[in-house]
Amino acid sequence: MDTLKVRDAKDVEEVVRAAIASEQPLEVIGHGTRRAIGHPMATNAVLDVSDLNAVTAYEPNELIITVQAGVPLADVQSLIDSKNQQFAFEPMNTSVLLGTSGNGTIGGMIGAGLAGPRRIRAGGARDHLLGAHAVSGFGDSFKTGGRVVKNVTGYDLCKLLAGSWGTLAVMTEVTLKVMPKPESERTLMLSGLDDVTANKAMTAALGSPYDVSGAAHLPNSAFRSATGALAGLAAQGPAVTLLRLEGIAASVADRATSLARTLAPFGSVEMLQDTASAAAWGAIRDVEPFAAGGALGNWPVWRIVCPPAAGGALGQAMARETGGDVIYDWGGGLIWAALPPKSDAQAALVRQRVEAAGGHAALIRAPEETRRKVAVFHPQAGGVAALSQRVRHSFDPKIILNRGRMLLIAAT
């Protein structure tokens, strides 16, 4: 299979146009760290954007950074960290779950759109992508959005590009919002709650005025294979519920006291300070309990997004019925579920339960043969599915880009 390493947007146009002419679908990659997410693709060549790796402009006072799509995410993160800034949506490092090396590129981060714990407060990748230059499946370079936060000029195509898994257009350059890093953080920890009660505690915290920026629950089972930051927490009790506060030190201390009072009906709280707190949230963001290198490394992993107050009951029932393990983030609105290996990853059961709760489930980790026969992304209702396909065709009518990645192609 050919790998075509492009150097600029013109190259991308040329490759896509040639691919259209010869009806050869392309797989679009940066570092390829998220290639194993989605269905195995029906592509004949690889378009590699990793050489589009320049930082175009970083303007800390404007709270924006403009970079080419192939810039390593880690490089950008350390650059903005040097100015005490960050991507507020806490992009997930998928390499822990997938066993790949490195954290991929900015383009991959946006294409996947996988946000971490702070999504409940700061939004997702879609909320931080201000503008983009991209090449559509027509082989045309287009731009959308701009370099300012407040912008309603034309359709907001950025929203579609985020989380589209490279199926709409090949991003070549993007402008992202950056935010100041909080001066301090503290995590309140409750112990020993069952999933449903923990869900209630998180709901109480998120319904308080104390500006909670992370709300996660780790049942006892999550510690079976815990290493690193989480291994330390396991000593605290059978299950832990974590609530994060961030901001200036005086404010964090004040809110911690108030929040502890709000949570009093659920038990007494312990505090994790800055470094320990950050380490725990990093582990939750990257789903370390189900790490590729851990005891559940070969279990399929589902990412379930649901109404937050429904999470505890849903996760608990699913764990019981499937024999799997779950952890909760986003106050119950995000459930990571690792299920004992079965060739269909128990998709029918998972999706039935998740739909009943008003959510959707994506199979983020599974062997290739499973991803050949099970819908990786949640199947949509007829009308929405048809509209999504029309949207796709409006960008890529010949389905040249990442063909087959998001939609299961029925075996004929």
Binding site: A21, N61, V148, V152, T153, A250
Partner: protein
């Protein structure tokens, strides 16, 4: 009218009687309005310089009726213009002479308040403020707060991706909506998203938000609600020079402080507002910043100190800090009344809405001053300074021949300058008809074609709100054509591995 709307379809106009009858069969009673006198209230929105009576007005009160109206119009090739409260400042709800005006005013019910999931499910005709009021007893509110929040509908907010004073910290509409029920032009009813933080598949909610009524008609919306901050206090800081105020804004953000709101007014705006509401604004300054910090008391107190120090470092000449809710509200009273206040000193004004990078504020203000000279028209400036969103108010008198044309040319030049300085044509008011013909200043034909292709995915015949946003309309079949360049897979230049 400087802006040309699509030519009316005489064949449709000739069938008006039959169309009215068909619509009455779908929406009975007073829900169909066809008398010229009664339709008058619908002939313009907040962009009052433009007026056009519609062919007929329909006010459905169920999703099923909306669906049937759209299906009928789709099958008959009749254009439709959706309308909420009609407060658009860009002409988004301006009717078409051969179009049905579809008013959502009867969709006035909040369907569900769900505190556990921190969402409200509402019909689109509910006002922005009514949502906050409905949840206030539990300490919650809906964050985006456009100035028209007493009147503007949440459906219109979604259509326009409305902002407001507090969107610097809390985001615009798009960052605060989770799902909707939408009726496509074909009459098809779809549910997108819901109470979960994200949709599955493509982010259709994200693209519907801010689509200015061109993609579908929204009949239900799920919005996020937040707990009100414990306290809020404001500083009112005066500067002898606009540049110093601009520098102060940049330094506050640079120090990692994101205020709840950060507004700037220039001298003419300060004077107009003070004369109107007597908020105690200093009259001997060239620029006034109102900076609001919100959160827990200790945090607000600490940040007030930091902001005060930064302001002094930038050479502030006056600084007042609110010590009570009444005083904070007084600081805001002048800013919130700035538009009507300017209305008192000038017979008419045009409100512009460009965004620029914060750092370009002084440059942009200097340009606006030069243009004011050139066009011989006064201008008062109010800005959402924190996010670089400018609202120059161009003063003119519609009764003086040629003034409106001059005012519009002045406004267009301001928006061109915004793009030149790295910004955009509109920060929160929308393109509508007002900025439609300026779109090529910011977007190439290829960029605009891609946007119109997306419209085709929702509205294959281009019947929903045509003539808005896009300066040139293309047929979907033409836009969808793939041009095949060459015919071989040859990239002579590109390294292979």
């Amino acid at each position: 009218m400087a802006i040309m709307m699509p030519a009316a379809d005489q064949a449709v106009l000739d069938r008006r009687g039959e169309i009215v009858t068909a619509l009455r069969a779908i929406v009975p009673g007073e829900g169909v309005i066809d008398s010229a006198a009664e339709m008058q209230v619908y002939e313009s929105d907040g962009l009052t310089a433009y007026r056009q009576p519609p062919m007929v007005v329909v006010l459905p009160d169920t999703t099923e009726q909306v669906s049937q109206v759209l299906k009928y119009c789709f099958e008959q090739g009749i254009k439709v213009v959706p309308r909420g409260s009609g407060t658009s400042l860009s002409g988004g709800a301006l009717p078409l002479s051969d179009g049905v005006l579809l008013g959502l005013g009867k969709f006035k019910r909040i369907r569900e308040i769900d505190f556990d999931n921190r969402v409200v499910v509402t019909e689109p005709g509910v006002t922005n403020l009514a949502i906050s009021q409905a949840v206030a007893h539990a300490g919650f509110y809906y964050a985006p707060d456009p100035s028209s929040q007493i009147a503007c509908s949440i459906g219109g907010n979604v259509a326009e991706n409305s902002g407001g004073v507090h969107c610097l910290k809390y985001g615009m509409t798009t960052n605060n909506v989770l799902g909707c029920e939408i009726v496509l032009m074909s009459g098809e009813i779809l549910r997108i998203g819901g109470k979960a933080a994200e949709n599955s598949g493509y982010d259709l909610m994200g693209i519907i938000t801010g689509s200015e009524g061109l993609l579908g008609v929204i009949t239900e919306i799920t919005v996020r609600i937040l707990q009100k901050p414990e306290t809020a206090r404001a500083l009112m800081v005066g500067f002898a020079e606009v540049e110093a105020a601009g520098e102060c804004v940049a330094r506050i953000i640079g120090a990692g402080i994101i205020p709840g709101g950060m507004e700037m007014m220039d001298k003419p705006a300060i004077h107009a507002a003070e004369a109107f509401v007597h908020a105690g604004y200093p009259l001997d300054v060239d620029a006034l910043l109102i900076i609001e910090l919100d959160g827990p008391g200790v945090e607000v107190d600490e940040l007030i100190k930091r902001v005060e120090t930064i302001a002094q470092g930038c050479g502030s000449t006056t600084c007042q800090i609110s010590t009570s809710e009444a005083e904070r509200n007084l600081f805001w009273a002048g800013r919130k009344a700035a538009f009507p206040a300017v209305g008192r000193i000038s017979p008419d004004y045009l409100c512009m809405d460009g965004t620029i990078p914060r750092g370009a504020l002084p440059k942009a203000l200097a340009r606006i001053r030069d243009l004011s000279e050139k066009y011989q028209l006064g201008v008062a400036n109010v800005f959402h300074a924190g996010d670089g969103n400018l609202h120059p108010l161009i003063l003119y008198d519609a009764n003086k021949p040629g003034e409106i044309e001059r005012a519009e040319a002045f406004g267009a030049d301001i928006l061109r300058a915004c793009v030149e300085f790295g910004g955009v044509l509109t920060g929160e008011h929308g393109v509508g008809i007002e900025k439609r013909d300026l779109m090529p200043e910011m977007f190439s034909e290829v960029d605009l074609n891609q946007q119109q292709r997306l419209k085709c995915a929702f509205d294959s015949q281009g019947l929903l709100n045509p003539g808005k946003v896009f300066p040139t309309l293309h047929r979907c079949a033409e836009l969808g054509r793939v041009h095949v360049h060459g015919g071989k897979l040859a990239f002579p230049d590109i390294p292979r591995f």
